[in-house]
Subunit: 158 residues, 3 copies
């Protein structure tokens, strides 16, 4: 185990040393380590269908990136007006359940519920409330997970 | 040095291996390590009261997350139109002082001042100007701090 | 295992122990390690000249931050409506070429091209298409690169 990790480190060092060339045609994107587990936490903190569609679509794309497929763990954290993504009857129930079935953690900031006077029972029952969205992000990043915050679209659609 | 890094890697791998379950009811949020110090850098790069309130509120929530309380270090970096947060007479002086008193570092991008012709003396004197906001973020993330960029609200309020 | 974690913690604690003081006048920004290589990935996922100008300006500022100059590697990843930054005839060809000449990797999300029906040939030929933008971000962050997502400006300009 120790040896493998030493090799992993050697691999990372080598990667950083030999950073990719920038000429189109020779560089085809960052390379994942097939022996490593990856994590990513997505934040949504604006409401509206455009922001929701864009964020869920981003998550689906990450699940299917051939470089990471099968060794990526994902969480969605909603705070501020982003709680919209979990409001019952918003039309995204099926999509959320599909993502959860694929292992995506669905989390909601508890402070937001109190501050914006949102009733927990107005949100889908299958999500999880965490103490704070920003705390959740901080801990995940400290664990080596990537943070991705899609920008809310200027206009509806994505 | 190499040994330490190898061990660090082992630690990260162990953390990723023990990833949380996703069923609501059994998962209550990521778990912090009580023996670890955490860091987070917040970016604000849009102006307006809505963006300022939301960002400062996010910082306050992180300071009080029970999982991290007492072992979290926070910095706020303003760049682009985000310098608004530090403009004298904007109504946020007291809140900023409170946050600073709780250990929050208040930093302003120096490039922004030059590019947007902002006079340093129009900003609160108790903040610190750093060479560039993006450099500040890059260094903090490299030190293991989390990066959190709240989205500017579409409408005033948060 | 316990020993490993103790050492890791010692390493992290040492880093945090040497944290800057927050008093204006004594703290002048985070300090870079001159012997370390840094990386940063910028995301653009909204269109429009304001968002493009702001993002490219941010990249230029990072290239010239005196703390990191000469030991920073940068990538720009465009997804969603952010593909705008690479559309032929958008007025940013020269700036993009300048950045690329300075080592900046210019990458475009392949999923976006398919989903938004964008023809690869309508984009500058010197950029690189990667499987997914979110996968690219996840891998870079896992390699220790910083993630920076400038917020699209509310109004044109930056």
């Amino acid at each position: 185990m120790l040896k493998k990790q030493t090799l992993t480190l050697a691999f990372i060092s080598a990667t950083l040393a030999a950073m990719p060339v920038t000429h189109a045609g020779t560089f085809h994107g960052a390379q994942a380590n097939p022996h490593r587990e990856y994590g990513a936490i997505f934040q949504i903190d604006n409401g509206g269908n455009g922001a929701i569609k864009k964020t869920l679509n981003n998550i689906e794309n990450l699940l299917h990136d051939p470089r990471l497929k099968g060794h990526i763990k994902i969480e969605l954290i909603a705070n501020s007006k982003g709680f919209d993504v979990y409001v019952k009857g918003n039309g995204f129930r099926r999509k959320l359940k599909e993502l959860q079935h694929q292992g995506v953690i669905l989390a909601q900031c508890g402070n937001t519920l109190r501050e914006l006077h949102v009733n927990r029972h107005d949100l889908y029952p299958f999500i999880t409330v965490v103490p704070s969205g920003v705390g959740e992000i901080t801990i995940r990043e400290s664990e080596g997970w990537a943070y991705i915050h899609p920008g809310a679209p200027h206009h509806e659609g994505f």
